[in-house]
């Protein structure tokens, strides 16, 4: 039986990836943010099938012990502090230690224990910052503009370096936005789908959003974790952009989401003037040609389906609560 180790298994991506790997017959071990004994809602249904390991990613020796103990063939590093998903003000040093230096420790631990473990590092499209060309691919230069993205770009450089120099089977997936019913409510997509369900159930009157004209390349999270798994089935590591190649505005998302329950978004959605930020000069959208051609990666859900899926899930959630 193959073993996979997933850091951040309690998050959106971690929980989908755990499900995928269990289906594929893996033994799945993971780390969570916080105590292993706490409730982790996204993986409660998997608690009997997976092992939670109490390993701090900033502890180099603990990482090495975990690699020796579980001897995973595949290591997915999804744990990270995200400015949108956590407390608004996390210490940037902590972000950098977790999102950046911890990856060097993982790579060094893999190198020390032996290069049998393949690594998949979750990189992010935020590394491009404000790009000058569109769409972005694996060759587009990075211009990260916040500590989260800067630390991720640092990790990305190190993954490439350990692959080229130390022969570690290490891959980075440069993920564009990927959503699902398990997305945290701090992200705009889930904020909208949740509001639609609440408004429909008369639990909320209106929805205030920062920037209706912001455009994003939104994909479906289970498709994206599938790409992660696919890249570790290759003979060698590489970098892959994972994206849909299409952008939609927050307004598009609202329109489809409200329409799905028979409402007109214009009657409920307010644009907060104070926090309005002008739209990007260059579209943030990824070119996944390499993933399509090399991995045979395919998306299973179109944008409209994703939006409706998220709204349906939140409708069910609200229904269950009441």
């Amino acid at each position: 039986m193959r073993t996979a180790f997933i850091t951040g298994i309690g998050g959106q991506d971690g929980s989908y990836l755990a499900e995928l790997l269990l289906r594929e017959g893996y033994r799945v071990v993971g780390t969570v943010n916080g105590s292993v004994r706490s409730r982790h809602p996204k993986i409660e249904h998997l608690r009997e099938s997976i092992t939670l390991a109490d390993v701090s990613l900033v502890d180099r020796l603990a990482l090495e012990r975990a690699l020796e103990l579980y001897a995973p063939e595949e290591f997915y590093n999804l744990a990270a502090f995200h400015p949108a998903s956590s407390q608004s003000q996390i210490d940037p040093v902590l972000i950098s230690e977790m999102n950046g230096v911890a990856v060097v420790k993982i790579l060094e631990a893999i190198r020390a224990v032996g290069t049998m473990t393949k690594l998949c590092q979750a990189s992010t499209a935020l590394m491009y910052g404000s790009p000058t060309t569109s769409p972005q691919d694996e060759e587009t230069p990075f211009h990260p503009t916040n500590p989260y993205a800067i630390a991720k770009a640092f990790a990305h450089c190190n993954v490439a370096y350990y692959r080229d120099v130390h022969g570690v089977h290490a891959s980075s997936c440069i993920l564009f936005n990927h959503e699902s019913p398990r997305r945290s409510e701090k992200f705009v997509t889930r904020k909208i789908s949740m509001a639609v369900a609440r408004i429909k159930a008369c639990l909320q009157q209106e929805l205030e959003l920062d920037n209706l004209d912001a455009r994003r390349d939104w994909g479906y999270a289970p498709d994206y974790v599938h790409a992660m798994w696919q890249m570790l089935q290759r003979n060698c590591g590489d970098d892959y952009v994972i994206a849909t190649g299409k952008t939609h505005s927050v307004r598009d998302f609202c329109r489809i989401a409200f329409e799905h329950v028979g409402l007109d978004y214009e009657r409920y959605v307010l644009q907060s003037v104070a926090r309005y930020v002008p739209a990007e000069a260059v579209a943030l959208t990824g070119n996944s040609r390499k993933a399509h051609e090399t991995l045979g990666w395919r998306r299973t859900l179109e944008f409209e389906e994703l939006v409706c899926d998220m709204v349906d899930a939140d409708m069910a959630l609200i229904m269950n609560q009441s």
Binding site: V104, N146, I150, A153, F154, C157
Partner: protein, 365 residues
């Protein structure tokens, strides 16, 4: 007018020593951060007065470490500097292959810790920040020559950590309006360059060979092309950046390129030696007039990822800062050789056992 106050991290390094001297001449009060070491590590500052009992002393050294946020906070709070020059780093590329975690912690996070300290202490509008960035960021170069717009392609843990520091400096400038600049400095050398760096290894090695203290000089890639300037000129550029009206990033370079082999030839010429090259690649040797092999290639000094060529375009610094390098390649080598000859002569007097031991300990260039 009260004197300006500067804080230099890494003050006992090559650039720190030159910058301290430069700022003292400009009547600054200079505070320096240095790591504790079991051996004296302030030799480069010996010619500057550091005795706090001396009423004329304007240079103050503090123990601290880039990996220790509290020490940085304490020193910045105490000194309240108008200018911080962040020169401290694990600066050796080859060592970064051996110590990637420490390199990341000191070079990448260390820079963030200083920027955070400025912010936490509310000194954003008081303190100007200089970050010592490096041409190693260009790594596998995308265009030649390299300027401020050339994309980065780091090829070592050192370069990756320095790239983090570059971006975080830009981020604090943009997010908090801090006067924070990156100087992207190409190689800069001097007689006090660390002995493990290739230029100093060459001038020191050849001087010692000339005086019979050493038989042979072992080098890595002789074909590496570098843009070498003099550290004295480059610290002036660091200061100029912080005097400019707006915080910006600048490439500092000579715009002239030489190979490691050129450097060996020029240093040998300066010593009145002549080197004849035979063989290729790892077999290449430099023979003296008597046919003895005095320069050999040792593949252990090849980097796991070579940076083959670096050549800087400093026209922005010339245009906006009025900065130009003053020291030619030949003059730089002349100065380095002169110092190493004088040291080798002393080495001859004091015996060579110590020097030999240090050689055995020396790593790679």
């Amino acid at each position: 007018m009260t004197a300006k106050i500067a804080l230099i991290t890494g003050i006992n390094g090559q650039d720190g020593a030159y910058l301290a001297e430069f700022l003292l001449q400009k009547n600054y009060i200079v505070h320096g951060l240095r790591r504790r070491s079991s051996v004296i590590n302030t030799q480069r500052l010996e010619h500057l007065c550091t005795d706090p009992h001396d009423p004329d002393c304007r240079l103050f050294l503090h123990h601290g470490d880039m990996t220790d946020a509290s020490s940085l906070l304490r020193i910045i709070q105490k000194a309240r500097p108008h200018e911080i020059y962040n020169l401290a780093a694990q600066s050796h590329v080859a060592v970064s292959f051996e110590e990637p975690e420490y390199t990341a912690n000191s070079d990448a996070l260390g820079t963030l810790r200083v920027l955070e300290a400025i912010r936490i202490l509310g000194l954003e509008n008081h303190t100007r920040f200089y970050q010592a960035s490096t041409s190693e960021l260009y790594g596998l170069v995308r265009e030649t020559p390299q300027c401020e717009e050339t994309p980065f392609y780091p090829r070592s843990p050192y370069a990756a950590a320095k790239l983090y520091a570059f971006w975080i400096t830009v981020n604090y400038r943009e997010a908090y309006g801090m006067f924070a600049c990156n100087g992207i400095l190409f190689n800069h050398e001097s007689p006090v360059r660390g002995e493990l760096f290739v230029t100093r290894k060459i001038t020191r090695g050849l001087a010692r060979i000339k005086f019979g203290l050493q038989e042979r000089l072992y080098l890595g890639n002789l074909d590496s092309l570098r843009d070498w300037g003099h550290a004295r000129d480059y610290v002036e550029a660091q200061w100029l950046m912080l005097q400019h009206s707006t915080p910006e990033d600048f490439v500092i370079a000579t715009g002239e390129q030489h190979s490691v082999r050129d450097f060996v030839n020029a240093a040998a010429r300066e010593l009145g030696m002549h080197i004849r090259w035979v063989g290729h690649g790892a077999e290449e040797m430099g023979l003296d007039t008597a046919g003895r092999c005095i320069v050999a290639v040792d593949p252990q000094y090849f980097r796991p990822t070579e940076v083959q060529t670096l050549l800087g375009d400093a026209s922005k610094a010339r245009r906006k800062l009025g900065w130009m390098p003053n020291t030619s390649f030949e003059k730089l080598i002349k100065e380095m050789v002169r110092e190493d000859v004088s040291r080798a002569q002393k080495g001859g007097v004091f015996g060579k056992s110590d020097e030999v031991r240090r050689d055995a300990m020396s790593l790679q260039h």
